[in-house]
């Protein structure tokens, strides 16, 4: 018999090793599906790798895909650090997209438009995240369920907009009018889609890392998450910290939507997010809630997504493999995380 035994300390190399082990296990598990589809496992993974990192254009495409997941990953990481269980990054992203699309459609100078889009998107995301946090603080309502259910509310609100007032009266398609050309995020590398939002995402990650580790708010977030009792004893207003965390988390998720509107789609449609909010949970867990780890984790998922499409064209393995990889990676990481707190001991055997 084996049993789990509590660890007193966690070796430092676990931080890097665990996500690598989890991803390795994921790729091994999913190779079974590639074989089932009748393709060579190494060939399929090879195509994925070269399609996502093979040349400079591929790398920029992967980064463009990664940007929204860096933001949602940060949103989830910050929230989970305070044990504010924000499952609502998807809805907050959509709210950010809608708000920035409203602002982006107003004619004004480009720089101002981009700034206001970011502010509006962040504010909209923060406002949505504030709902579950307020309900938890004021009414002790479970934040997992309320934040999850809000995703559906926001999604239907978006649908009502694009099938109602925003609907293209000419084509009849349920899409919003495009934002002003001047509001389109500048492309940083000629001939690619690498836009300003990608750089913003890459800069935001270390900033949030700094905030968590070096600032008072970051300290409060960590203490509140690790032990609310200790936080209260130390004079921290736990309720306020939860609300601040929600504002920060929601704003980050909202920025993910801003980037998609300003840098990729230039308008809002029903499938503007292929579940980036939920992917943010995968990213945050792979990163072990460390803001700096969010960047490589998001790039990994983005590479899987862009790579899967090329793999599908080359080998005929359905591109939905990327969805399976995402789910498997999350579950594998959760199991791997178990070993930070526990070790496996054989019991019942003679000593």
């Amino acid at each position: 018999m084996f049993r789990l035994e509590a660890r007193t300390s966690t070796p430092a190399w676990f931080n890097l090793a665990l996500p690598i082990i989890a991803i390795g296990a994921t790729l091994v598990i999913c190779s079974g599906l590639i074989a089932l589809a009748g393709a060579g496992v190494l060939e399929a993974y090879g195509v994925m790798l070269s399609a996502s990192f093979g040349d400079s254009y591929a790398i920029t495409e992967t980064l463009v895909r990664a940007a929204p997941m860096i933001f949602t990953g940060l949103a989830v990481a910050v929230a989970f650090r305070a044990k504010f269980w924000n499952i609502g990054a998807e809805g907050q992203l959509l709210a950010g997209a809608v708000a920035s699309c409203f602002v982006g459609a107003i004619p004004m100078p480009g720089a101002l438009a981009i700034l206001l889009m970011a502010l509006a998107g962040a504010a909209a995301g923060a406002a949505v995240a504030l709902v579950p946090a307020t309900l938890r603080v004021k009414f002790k309502v479970d934040d997992v369920v309320s934040s999850l259910l809000l995703n559906s509310v926001i999604y239907y609100a978006l649908m009502a907009l694009i099938e109602g007032p925003w609907k293209d009266s000419f084509s009849g398609y349920p899409i919003s009018p495009p934002i002003e050309d001047s509001a389109n995020f500048p492309v940083l590398l000629e001939g690619t889609r690498l836009h300003l939002g990608v750089i913003a995402a890459l800069i935001t990650a270390p900033l949030i890392g700094f905030l968590i580790v070096r600032t008072t708010l970051g300290f409060r977030i960590r203490v509140t998450g690790e032990s609310p009792e200790a936080a209260r004893y130390g004079g921290i207003n736990v309720e306020r910290v939860l609300l601040s965390t929600a504002l920060l988390s929601g704003a980050l998720a909202g920025l993910a939507g801003v980037g998609e509107v300003g840098g990729v789609h230039f308008q809002v449609m029903s499938d503007i997010s292929p579940g980036y909010g939920y992917s943010g949970i995968v990213v945050a867990m792979l990163a072990r809630l460390n803001p700096l780890g969010v960047v490589p984790a998001a790039i990994f998922l983005a590479a899987v997504m862009t790579g899967a499409e090329a793999m599908s064209r080359a080998t005929g393995v359905p591109a939905f493999l990327s969805d399976v990889i995402q789910g498997t990676a999350l579950l594998a990481m959760l199991v791997a995380l178990l070993f930070t707190a526990y070790r496996i001991r054989r019991v019942g055997a003679p000593a």
């Binding site: 709902v131 479970d142 369920v145 999850l148 009502a160 109602g164 969805d323 995402q326 999350l330 199991v335």
Partner: protein, 314 residues
């Protein structure tokens, strides 16, 4: 003449409500069993989708609808067992595991469906369940044709509601489920295996979610599409809360939601829709969030919900 029209309208409307409510009733009862044992199962959305796919595939390949239902139920049980393995046996956080199970199951459903059926311009369909009128009862005016001229799976859902209540409130196993959901420590002292009971409840819940998926692809749509579940799992999560974790109230909540949904469809079809139909679809979620705030004064949620149980930790 207009009286006849009115009657058909009502019968059709009532029948539509029953049909919309059926998969929700299965899913809601499934989630309820899981949560009463202390395990939130956010995998429900993905489990329903995967079951809908395996059920459709089995029915399509074998030509036997009941074999499809069996496949869907077994899929639900298997994925329930997977969720229980992570959350009950390993004690991992239930909400994150649930999202993981949903991502994994949805991905697997899409992947396998594409692998088996390829990319076709028109999704393959099957000849789904036909309505099965119950003699005598189906002759009752209005109610008869609406309720007793339905698919076999609808009758199963109608029977499942009192059965679930009986199991939960009147059997020793139901008592164990409630105990491990309220106070696992006490249940353990009383000799109830917390781990085993939670496993059983989550697996039973998965079976019911499987039935919900089976209904969608084998009675309601007779085909598998990527949006076949489209948030019904999340609706069930809401309905369990709205129904206060009680089989009767949860089923009632499913019926209420089905009424609103059927009304919305009818208003859309009749062109009366000054109110966007999305406003109706939002209602159950908004109602539930408000209800959670109102109910929070008297805690009705299972006390041990979201809390893993490790015997050695005290």
């Amino acid at each position: 003449m207009s009286a006849v029209f009115e009657q058909i309208f009502q019968v059709g409307f009532l029948a539509a409500i029953i049909r919309i409510a059926t998969p929700l009733a299965f899913a809601t009862l499934g989630e309820m069993f899981s949560e009463r044992a202390g395990v939130l199962n956010l995998g429900i959305e993905g489990i329903m989708l995967l079951s809908a796919m395996t059920g459709f595939t089995a029915a399509s390949l074998s030509g036997n609808l009941w074999l499809g239902v069996l496949a869907a139920v077994l899929t639900g049980m298997l994925m329930g067992a997977l969720h229980a393995l992570f959350t009950v046996a390993l004690g991992l956080s239930q909400h994150v595991c649930g999202i993981g199970v949903t991502l994994f199951s949805s991905g697997l459903a899409y992947f396998l469906y594409r692998l088996i059926f390829g990319q076709q311009s028109v999704p393959p369909s099957i000849k789904g369940f036909q309505t099965l009128p119950i003699p005598i009862l189906s002759d009752i005016p209005v109610l008869g044709p609406a309720v007793f001229n339905q698919f076999a799976l609808v009758y199963m859902a109608i029977i499942a509601i009192p059965l679930a209540a009986f199991i939960l409130y009147r059997t020793p196993w139901g008592l164990s489920v409630r105990m491990v959901g309220e106070n696992p420590r006490a249940a353990d002292s009383a000799g109830v295996s917390v781990i085993a009971t939670r496993f059983q409840a989550v697996i039973l819940g998965g079976a019911l979610m499987g039935l919900a998926g089976a209904f969608l692809t084998m009675a309601q749509f007779n085909a598998f599409t990527f949006g076949v579940v489209s948030g019904r799992g999340w609706v069930a999560i809401a309905l369990v809360v709205f129904g206060r974790w009680d089989p009767w109230r949860s089923a009632g909540a499913a019926l209420l939601f089905a009424f609103v949904d059927a009304l919305q469809l009818r208003m859309q079809a009749s062109g009366l829709g000054h109110i966007p139909y999305e406003a109706f679809l939002m209602l159950p979620f908004i109602f539930t969030i408000v209800a959670m705030a109102v109910m929070s004064r008297n805690a009705v949620a299972p006390s041990a919900l979201l809390k893993p149980f490790r015997r050695e930790e005290r």
